[in-house]
Symmetry: C2
Subunit: 158 residues, 2 copies
DNA sequence: CCCCTGGCGCAATATCATTGCAGGACCCCA
DNA sequence: TGGGGTCCTGCAATGATATTGCGCCAGGGG
């Protein structure tokens, strides 16, 4: 997990990242075949990518609806102050709720963009009002997703 | 990939989902150990979760900054019409750009929320103006992430 | 021209994935 | 109450994979 220098990735590394970003559970043998390498050096490259923090982990992509999370929505939250303590207090609040899946501080001051899931409309309303009534919260704009046209894993490579 | 009935997940299935959501590359033997099952039934359960579409896939989580994507930002795009053809044209545009990683249509009409990555500020500006100048685009509000307090994979389970 | 470094492939071995099979729990219905 | 399904488990065998050790080759300096 170092954080400094030139990662110095060659085209084979980028190819590996592309493949694992697409299918993180591919066997090493299959991966090696796709990047035209034998298994051992391929595995060594993967390990190096993991150790340097370029690959941060692997995650199963679970269907929210199948687990009863019918609604995914975003919330743009404005706070009444940009004081450090207030920002941090809100972050603690947000990261504590399990329904909050992402919490991004937005440049420009005092705003956060959240991604949340809810079991149904009532639950969504409840979450929204819990947000609205949270300390220091000035306004909450909810953005409910009705269709996701693209949800690409990770980043473009190459 | 069925789409209908009761998934009928028991606590072991939920435990499996929790573990794989956390570490999608865990070996089946390790997973079985964690959920207190022997390897074969554990693997059968995982396969069933994959086949029913509850597990949609596995992805390596690649560090954007390590690959030169210094900036992650969101864009809230308003279109001048909610006509089907215009919405679809915008979706095609958005999903075509590699820098657009997510594209969500927002309830309320004519708005999209995008997540994008950019190599640097100049690149971000270029993307923003390309969005602003795209056909039917009325307004673009960019929300630049300066800190991500939480970025949880998937959904809460349990 | 030789040495050092780095990365590769081969081959051996430890682990893991996958399949076939037998047994137990549960349920329905006679 | 008891036979026959159904479903799911664990054990054991077998084929694949992951992992390690090692020798080889290419490139960059002295």
């Amino acid at each position: 997990m170092n954080r400094e220098p030139e990662p110095d990735l060659d085209s084979v590394d980028l190819h590996i990242l592309t493949e694992l970003q697409q299918d993180g559970r591919m066997t090493n043998v299959e991966l090696a075949r796709r990047v035209n390498l034998s298994a051992p050096p391929c595995l060594r490259r993967v390990r190096r990518l993991e150790e340097t923090g370029i690959i941060r982990g692997y995650h199963a992509d679970v269907d929210p609806v199948a687990l009863g999370w019918e609604i995914t929505f975003f919330a743009l939250v404005g706070l009444e102050s940009q004081k450090q303590a207030i920002l941090e207090a809100f972050e603690v609040l947000a990261t504590t709720w399990p329904e909050v899946r992402e919490c991004h501080m937005i440049r420009g001051g005092g705003d956060f963009l959240l991604r949340l899931v809810a079991r149904d409309t009532a639950h969504e309303n409840e979450l929204t009002s819990r947000l609205t009534n949270a300390p220091s919260v000035l306004r909450v704009q909810t953005l409910q997703t009705i269709r996701t046209a693209k949800d690409a894993a990770g980043v473009p490579i190459g």
